[in-house]
């Protein structure tokens, strides 16, 4: 690390910060881009179709349809940028960014590998170092702000379908956030800290993974993550069979691409939150103190798996009805996570 910093004429801390910034920014973005391909091929696989396989480099190399990604990107850039006449132009422009920026920010606090010490300096593999005081409150705060992108997009396009989508989405986010927070609270309680580094350190063997200790908390959190990312069992903001395309009905070209991409970045961040909170983050099963590279690989593997679960479930389950969603949120998820919290509190009180 120090050698590398010297090459760039930077202090090791500074060089490390730059490296981390690039990783924390590029990794979710690249993964999200690949996920759009995985989504289409995965959907095709589940529905017994072939999926996108026509785009090819020089009409020759199809690479399992991966070239479709580049083709879509170029197409989005070259499309005409339409804004409807009665839209609120400023907000219409701003909305995709308001959806995209919080989505990208969420990853900052998540440790994607084991911290290591070199020449007396500790290097942490998360953008925000441990002990920053924000801890897991940060992704929750960022996640709760994400709804503004959808709300603004829906309201500014001045379309009744869009507004319906936006209102559904805001109602859904607010109701599911409570159950989610209480589920996470139980983890803070048993861990005795709320810093993601502490939470991961506490899950040092497979039996100590929070998914074992907080199984019902995990169910609640997992379900709430679908609601937070607006993915299919809960994609009421979009609801293409009822309200055309919901909040992004009026969007086209690169603005639409940004909205779509932010959904996939949300999936990546949600998967890494699930992994950090319930599946031991970078811990490798049955290996004590794994090597740094191994820990990063383990984290990446788990995240990719959960990204796939998101897609898997999308193409397996039908969409709920809105009253079913509210029923599930308030009358199943919230009591379940409260019960989880109380049971853990009781056992902690009993056996310290």
């Amino acid at each position: 690390m120090e050698h590398f910093a010297q090459l760039l004429h930077l202090s090791p801390a500074m060089a490390w910060m730059v490296v981390k910034l690039i990783i924390a920014f590029a990794a979710p973005l690249v993964l999200a881009a690949v996920l759009t391909w995985v989504e289409r091929r995965g959907a095709a696989m589940i529905q017994d179709r072939i999926g996108p396989n026509r785009a090819a480099i020089l009409g020759r190399w199809r690479l399992l349809g991966l070239v479709q990604l580049a083709a879509d990107g170029i197409k989005f850039f070259l499309k005409e940028d339409l804004v409807t006449r009665d839209a609120n132009k400023t907000l219409f422009w701003l909305a995709p960014f308001m959806a995209f920026v919080p989505a990208m920010m969420g990853f900052a606090v998540i440790p994607f590998g084991r911290s290591f010490v070199e020449n007396g300096t500790a290097y942490h593999l998360s953008l925000l170092d441990p002990g920053n005081g924000m801890g897991m409150l940060y992704p929750m705060a960022i996640g709760s702000v994400a709804v503004y992108g959808i709300l603004t997009a829906s309201w500014s396009s001045n379309n009744k379908w869009s507004i319906l989508g936006g209102m559904r989405s805001s109602a859904q986010m607010v109701s599911y956030e409570i159950g989610m927070s209480v589920a996470v609270l139980a983890i803070f309680m048993t861990t005795g800290g709320y810093d993601p580094h502490q939470i991961i350190a506490a899950q040092d063997s497979v039996l100590h993974w929070n998914v074992v200790r907080h199984f019902f908390g995990f169910l609640v959190f997992f379900t709430c993550m679908f609601a937070e990312t607006n993915r299919l069992p809960f994609d009421f903001a979009e609801g293409e069979s009822e309200i055309v395309a919901g909040f992004h009905t009026e969007y086209g070209s690169m603005k639409f691409a940004l909205l779509q991409l932010s959904e996939y970045v949300h999936i990546v961040v949600a998967s890494s939150l699930i992994v950090t909170l319930y599946f031991g983050g970078w811990q490798v099963p049955f290996v004590k103190d794994p090597a740094v590279l191994l820990s990063v690989l383990s984290f990446a593997g788990k995240v990719v798996f959960f990204c796939w679960v998101f897609i898997w479930i999308r193409w397996t389950l039908p969409r709920f009805r809105f009253d079913q969603l509210m029923f599930l949120g308030w009358k199943v998820m919230l009591p379940l996570s409260l019960a989880n919290l109380l049971v853990h509190a009781y056992f902690m009180h009993r056996w310290g």
Partner: protein, 162 residues
């Protein structure tokens, strides 16, 4: 940094007051809350900053915007008849309140004893919890009771047949 966050806060607050469009005004309010959260961060209190964003930006303003959209009252309603006395009266009251607040801050003992504060690391949830349950237990419990009463009241008002 302080100037940036203070300007964001002030700009947001002024826009809320002068913006005719209710939804845009609501979004400006979110901007203000972000500015305030930034100020909390500068005071090395990230917990307050996070809670500010979770509670105010993430929940309360979302609900406010929800209601605005539901009523589709996008524009401010013009008053039936203008009452200049109301405007001047409110200006005087606001100025008096502001002057009082500034005076209280300037004459407080804290201001006299102000020196570069020694900060022992950022505030964290553990410290907040200890402070809450040790120093302010009664106030905390009373606030909880008050919220419970409000919640029961809201349910009782809305539910037709209990």
């Amino acid at each position: 940094m302080f100037a940036i966050f203070a300007l964001i806060t002030l700009f947001g607050a002024l826009s809320v007051a002068f913006q005719k469009n209710l939804v845009v005004a609501g979004l400006c309010m979110v901007l203000t809350f972000f500015g305030v959260a930034g100020l909390y961060l500068l005071l090395s209190n990230p917990v307050a900053a996070a809670l500010q964003i979770i509670v105010y930006s993430g929940a309360i303003v979302v609900l406010v915007l929800f209601v605005i959209m539901l009523l589709s009252a996008h524009e401010e309603e013009p008053a039936g008849r203008t009452m200049p006395i109301q405007r001047w009266g409110s200006a005087v009251v606001a100025l008096a309140l502001a002057a009082g607040a500034v005076r209280v801050v300037l004459t407080s003992g804290f201001m006299q004893a102000m020196k570069p504060l020694k900060i022992q690391g950022p505030m964290n949830l553990n410290l907040v919890g200890v402070e809450l349950f040790r120093g302010h237990l009664v106030a905390f419990e009373v606030a909880g009771l008050l919220l419970l009463a409000t919640m029961i009241g809201a349910v009782a008002l809305v539910k037709k047949d209990l």
